[in-house]
């Protein structure tokens, strides 16, 4: 059965469409990257799958059923910057939040939740920091805490918004090991990703997005130079005035302007 099936999904903030008429089928047991320039709707796609935003049209099926009844199958790693890391709480506490949904109302997390959280922290190599106050974590450690929190959800589909944002190379490898292990044990991982040069190495599948779906499929088939150009050379013009040439999709400021000249990462493909 397919992990995710999206039909005719359109999401608009106020009157500006962010995702336009998207059809996407994600099979189970794959590692899929979602790539596209800034403002392409990558985060919106993740949130729409999770039911965090109401689409203007279309539906999302999780293992064949609407997400409302399938929430327990989904785990979520939000962007690191979406929370206040100065909040007075510890690493272990944050990770245990992943169990709150299964716990239900009012019931407090106990020994079982603590044990599960420690297991998850072990998987991301952070058991020694369990009692650490979260404001003292590095970017990579914050990202691993969020990953551990998703792991304790014990889901089968993992949705991650930029899991490698602001992490060092060593942490990136560690996170990748965890994602591969998830995939190898039959789970599905969908991650918003920015570094195009690592897509072929890290992922099996890729979805190229720029408000509309540009391409989706196995990396070998979908991650072609033509598709990447299509996704990154300005917005797909379905209403005039939005083609502002936001070509440097990774936000690192490298490259500016139009088309081929701004694409040093294309050399990774050749």
């Amino acid at each position: 059965m397919n992990a995710i099936e999206i039909n005719d999904l359109t999401v608009a903030y106020q009157d500006k469409p962010v995702l336009w008429d998207l059809d996407l089928t994600v099979p189970s047991g794959i590692l899929m990257a979602v790539v596209g320039p800034n403002g392409a709707g990558k985060t919106t796609l993740i949130k729409a799958i999770l039911g965090l935003i109401d689409p203007a049209a279309g539906q999302v099926l999780v293992q064949g059923k609407p997400y409302r009844r399938q929430r327990h199958l989904l785990a979520y790693v939000p962007q690191r910057g979406s929370v206040d890391w100065d909040f007075p709480t510890s690493v272990l506490d944050v990770v245990m939040m992943g169990r709150y949904g299964a716990l239900g109302w009012i019931r407090r997390p106990g020994g079982r939740e603590r044990a599960l959280a420690m297991q998850a922290l072990d998987k991301v190599g952070m058991t020694d920091l369990a009692e650490r106050q979260i404001s003292q974590l590095s970017g990579g450690q914050q990202q691993r805490v969020f990953l551990a929190r998703a792991l304790v959800q014990d889901a089968c589909i993992y949705l991650m918004d930029e899991p490698f944002q602001g992490v060092d190379a060593k942490t990136e490898r560690a996170i990748m090991d965890v994602l591969r292990e998830l995939r190898d044990t039959g789970n599905t991982v969908i991650a918003v990703h920015h570094a195009l040069q690592t897509v072929p190495e890290y992922f099996d599948w890729v979805t190229l997005l720029n408000v509309r779906l540009i391409a989706a499929g196995p990396v070998k088939e979908a991650f072609t130079e033509a598709n990447i150009r299509l996704a990154y050379s300005g917005r797909v013009p379905f209403h005039s005035g939005t083609s502002n040439g936001t070509s440097n999709g990774d936000g690192s400021g490298k490259g500016d302007g139009d088309d081929a000249d701004d694409a040093p990462w294309l050399s990774a493909l050749r």
């Binding site: 709480t89 510890s90 709150y100 009012i106 404001s135």
Partner: protein
């Protein structure tokens, strides 16, 4: 009044005991809920709620024709709650930012409240007298019935916080993640806001609508300075709230004419100022000391390596160098003389009789280690 006498009255004087108990109870409750409000960056919501409660108080009086504490609190709660929901509604439905919504609700509700209050006070009956103490608060007007209302409603509020501790924590830290878990975060938001409304309205008679938000924000802001645990922060905030409440209420009751609100605000401000200045790790003094210590470490390293560089020009150990030379080498940082004294006290540098400085053997080792450390950082 001397301290011993005050302590005696606090336990045995009926009026003072009532006032102190009421102020303590409301301080505990507003401190507890204030912790969540501050962490959710909703400090101003408390201000909007307390101001929005005024028309409710006056309307409750107009309908019942008496100053029954329970009905006044119910009126205040309904109006305050409506105000809070209006803020949420404006933020959700319009493109206005939250601070604008807060400003609108605060001023509109408070304005209506003032109009109603003025109208009621023109009535010939004497029963409305004292209704305007709700503006700035008057702890001296507290009677046992008021304290019972505060205690009962306050216990309900604290009970809800205890029951929904995990949900409130999740809401405050990562609302969207909670929603992704399938937990009804909007319902929890309404619940927490409702409890905040209770915490605020039970304090209005004592502290007044104008300054009640200080009882929500100040104890929590002070508590945040001292701890990195949510549980400890909430308890500390409750303690600070009780402390400020009792101090201010007793001060205003014993010195005739001072409204309680301002007295309480002064008391909690003391706690806030001390906390911002003195708290370990987050306090200003701590910051300053850390900064100075870092500065000294950098200076020591610099002068040490300068001396080492000078020494490398000379064959024999202990060749002295003048202070002026070192000062010239390190012109930007300054404080060379003091740094040399520090080095000397650590046995790393020595001062010769002709007022020149040189490294000791230990100092040379330390300088080599320092240089190695720097190169390690660059690599």
């Amino acid at each position: 009044m001397d301290a011993g006498r005050l302590l005696h009255d606090l336990f045995f004087d009926y009026t003072l005991r009532t006032v102190a108990l009421g102020a303590m109870a409301l301080g505990v409750v507003s401190g507890t809920l204030g912790a969540f409000a501050v962490l959710r960056r909703q400090s101003l919501l408390g201000d909007a709620i307390s101001h929005a409660a005024l028309p409710g108080i006056v309307l409750a009086f107009m309908f019942t024709g008496a100053k029954d504490p329970l009905w006044l609190v119910v009126g205040a709660a309904v109006a305050g709650w409506l105000g809070a929901l209006t803020v949420m509604w404006i933020v959700r439905q319009s493109r206005l930012p939250e601070d604008t919504a807060l400003g609108i609700v605060l001023s509109v509700f408070f304005g209506i409240g003032l109009v109603l209050l003025t109208y009621v006070q023109r009535e010939p009956t004497a029963s409305q007298a004292g209704l305007n103490t709700f503006l700035f608060g008057q702890a001296a007007t507290l009677v046992v019935d008021d304290v019972i209302v505060i205690a009962v409603l306050g216990s309900v509020a604290l009970g809800v916080v205890a029951l929904f501790w995990k949900e409130f924590k999740l809401l405050s830290f990562d609302r969207e993640f909670g929603k992704s878990l399938g937990i009804g975060m909007r319902g929890i938001d309404v619940l927490l806001t409702t409890v905040l409304v209770i915490a605020i309205v039970i304090g209005l008679q004592t502290v007044g609508v104008v300054l009640m938000s200080a009882m929500v924000v100040a104890p929590a802001a002070a508590a945040r300075q001292w701890t990195d645990s949510l549980g400890v922060m909430v308890v500390l905030s409750a303690v600070f709230g009780a402390l400020g409440g009792v101090t201010g209420a007793v001060a205003s009751s014993t010195a005739a004419g001072i409204p309680t609100g301002p007295a309480i605000v002064l008391a909690v401000t003391m706690v806030v100022v001390l906390s911002i200045a003195l708290a370990p790790r987050r306090g200003l003094v701590w910051e300053w000391v850390r900064h100075k210590r870092n500065q000294q470490t950098v200076r020591t390293g610099a002068v040490l390596t300068d001396l080492y560089a000078l020494a490398s020009h000379h064959k024999e150990r202990g060749h002295g160098h003048k202070l002026a030379v070192l000062q010239a080498m390190d012109a930007r940082r300054g404080g060379v003389r003091r740094t040399l004294d520090v080095l000397a006290s650590r046995g790393l540098a020595a001062r010769a009789a002709d007022d020149t400085w040189s490294l000791t053997e230990q100092g040379e080792q330390e300088a080599r280690a320092e240089i190695a450390r720097r190169e390690g950082d660059d690599a």
